[in-house]
């Protein structure tokens, strides 16, 4: 049984009517995406800002509804089995601001209280190396520490799949490496990961397979090495080159 299967996913945001009642300019954020992610796999959605990555992930993790298309996680659907699925997933949204005036420990205890079988507090603190910061308010944490706390919140329920939306955007290189180590450790325990990123280095390092997404569509899918070999063809080629070949743009152009 695959961890994630989605078929012909579409999400259309109704546009505002122009002044004078002109035609609506609907925004198609996701335009027919098919994905299949195996258990234990780390899958990356790559693409520039506005490609539809976040919308896709939010639909898959059950916090947004698709306009059309089907999603199943572990053979279950959000409509029928939402409550059961939420016990089995871990989520770190892009830029969630946890409450500033709660301590690290209080924040984790809050999230622990949501799950039927939460992992022990000490284990979580150790895992994200925040033991020394347990009494510190969230407002006193660095960017990297906050992101690790967000990951700890995602790992509270011992999830079978982890959804990470741009987990390292805005972090310094050292903090980025710490996040990578965390994700690798989770993978090594047999966890499934779906992450979005626009850092090609991150994708090459963590992902077993990637899908390059642009304009709400999957341009190409495969292993990082496979895509580089196929589309760039040089040993020193990178996923960055793959993206340029596929879209004619560099990732950083957005």
């Amino acid at each position: 049984m695959d961890a994630v299967v989605c078929h012909q996913l579409r999400k259309v945001y109704p546009g505002a009517r122009g002044l004078g009642g002109g035609p609506r300019a609907d925004v198609v954020a996701v335009d027919g995406i098919d994905l299949r992610i195996a258990r234990g796999e780390c899958f990356g959605l790559l693409g520039p800002n506005g490609a539809g990555k976040t919308t896709t992930v939010e639909i898959l993790e059950g916090v947004a509804e698709p306009t059309s298309g089907d999603v199943s996680l572990f053979g279950l659907s959000w409509k029928k089995d939402g409550a059961a699925l939420r016990e089995r997933i871990g989520v770190a949204l892009q830029e969630t601001r946890l409450s500033d005036k709660q301590s690290v420990e209080e924040t984790l205890q809050l999230f622990r209280s949501f799950y039927r079988k939460p992992r022990p507090l000490e284990t979580l603190l150790d895992e994200v190396s925040l033991g020394e910061k347990r009494a510190a308010w969230v407002s006193k944490l660095s960017g990297g520490q906050r992101q690790r706390l967000a990951l700890a919140c995602a790992l509270v329920g011992d999830p079978e799949i982890l959804f990470l939306d741009e987990p390292t955007t805005g972090l310094d290189p050292q903090s980025r490496r710490q996040v990578w180590d965390l994700v690798s450790a989770y993978k090594a325990r047999g966890g499934t990961v779906l992450l979005t990123t626009h850092y090609m280095e991150e994708a090459e390092r963590l992902c077993d397979r990637v899908a390059v997404v642009d304009h709400g569509r999957v341009m190409r899918e495969g292993t990082p090495r496979g895509l580089i070999d196929e589309l760039v063809g040089t040993p020193e080629g990178t996923l960055e080159d793959v993206f340029v070949v596929l879209t004619g743009r560099s990732l950083r152009d957005g």
């Binding site: 916090v63 939420r86 997933i89 949204l93 830029e95 601001r97 946890l98 709660q102 039927r116």
Partner: protein, 347 residues
């Protein structure tokens, strides 16, 4: 076990956020006290207002002054130019011009239009005539009366309490929910197994938990500072405050159900609250408005809340006496909560 219950943790998180934010404490506890102090001082009963009369300097002035002061009047000794000025400005109600000799006639110079100056004339004349030996043929007695509960501050304190309960619920729940939405915390919570019911319920519990302190502070302060009494049943007062706070919690959830940023929700809340500050009898009785609009005013939630609080505090009502306000508030609370939950957006 309580510590593992999501409802407990959510409620505690809400309480901690409030307690750790000094601004919140000021608005909930400090502001109503400052307001009651300011308005209480401005409108406090000052006792009988003294009558101020001018006395033109001159040979007979000393004797006249002794007479007038002896009769409890306040006297200003003035020279001619100052007297003119003070009289015209109304700073003295009347000017006494003593005669050149003890037997020469006194002159009362005053503008008879305002009642104070006619009052001053009567008081001054009585004092002068009695000093000159007049005996009043009929014996009379004065009996001064102050009606407890009839001062402005007695009217004001329940109004401030009602206003505070309303803003406490609206800001404490409406603004907080939208802030959580802006921070994407609502969406993040939606991705956990937490029950949505617990999320909203925790807000309500935290709100109710703050009531004893919030109501108690103002009531105790008003008692100590202005001797404002709760003449009715404490149970009724507590119940009106509770149902009022919950009714506005429902309205807060409705107002916050869709707003995508805190500016929008601030605007919406002001739109809801501002008219009621004026119409619902916080600072002055809503009966000042025309009869035609009274049925509408009577149905506003803040009018009901203030009526209920005043019925208990001033008129000494018990539970039965506040049945109508409680019914109106409950209807608002249930209807707005149901509508709010129906259209609520998490993202």
């Amino acid at each position: 076990m309580a510590e593992h219950s999501a409802l407990y943790q959510l409620t505690m998180a809400r309480v901690r956020e409030a307690v750790r934010e000094p601004g919140v404490l000021f608005w909930v506890f400090g502001f109503p006290i400052l307001l009651s102090v300011g308005l209480g001082l401005a409108f406090r009963g000052r006792g009988p207002e003294p009558i101020v009369v001018g006395l033109l300097d001159g040979p007979g002035a000393v004797a006249v002054e002794r007479t007038l002061v002896g009769a409890g009047l306040r006297v200003e000794r003035l020279d001619e130019p100052a007297a003119k000025l003070r009289l015209r400005a109304g700073k003295v109600a009347l000017l006494v011009v003593p005669g050149a000799t003890a037997d020469a006639p006194l002159t009362y110079r005053y503008d008879p239009t305002p009642p104070e100056s006619r009052l001053a004339r009567a008081a001054v004349d009585t004092a002068i005539q009695r000093a000159a030996g007049r005996r009043d043929p009929r014996d009379v007695r004065d009996q001064p009366v102050t009606e407890p509960g009839s001062r402005y501050i007695d009217f004001l304190v329940p109004g401030l309490l009602g206003m505070n309960l309303m803003s406490g619920s609206m800001w404490g729940i409406g603004w907080v929910i939208v802030d959580m939405r802006v921070r994407k915390l609502l969406k993040r919570l939606l991705a956990t197994p937490v029950r949505r019911r617990d999320l909203l319920l925790s807000q309500a519990i935290a709100r109710v938990g703050s009531l004893p302190l919030e109501v108690g502070t103002l009531v105790v302060f008003a008692r100590l500072a202005f001797n404002v009494h709760v003449t009715g049943s404490w149970l009724a007062l507590g119940l009106v405050a509770l149902v009022g706070a919950l009714a506005f919690a429902g309205l807060a959830i409705l107002v916050a159900s869709r707003a995508q940023n805190t500016q929008t929700v601030s605007g919406l809340m002001n739109l809801v609250m501002m008219p009621m500050f004026v119409l619902s009898g916080v600072f002055f009785a809503s009966s000042h408005f025309p009869d035609a609009v009274q049925p509408v005013l009577q149905l506003l939630p803040l009018t009901a809340l203030n009526d209920g609080l005043r019925a208990v505090m001033i008129d000494g009502a018990g539970l039965l006496g506040v049945a109508k306000p409680l019914a109106i508030l409950s209807a608002w609370g249930v209807a707005s909560f149901a509508a709010g939950v129906r259209i609520f957006r998490w993202g």
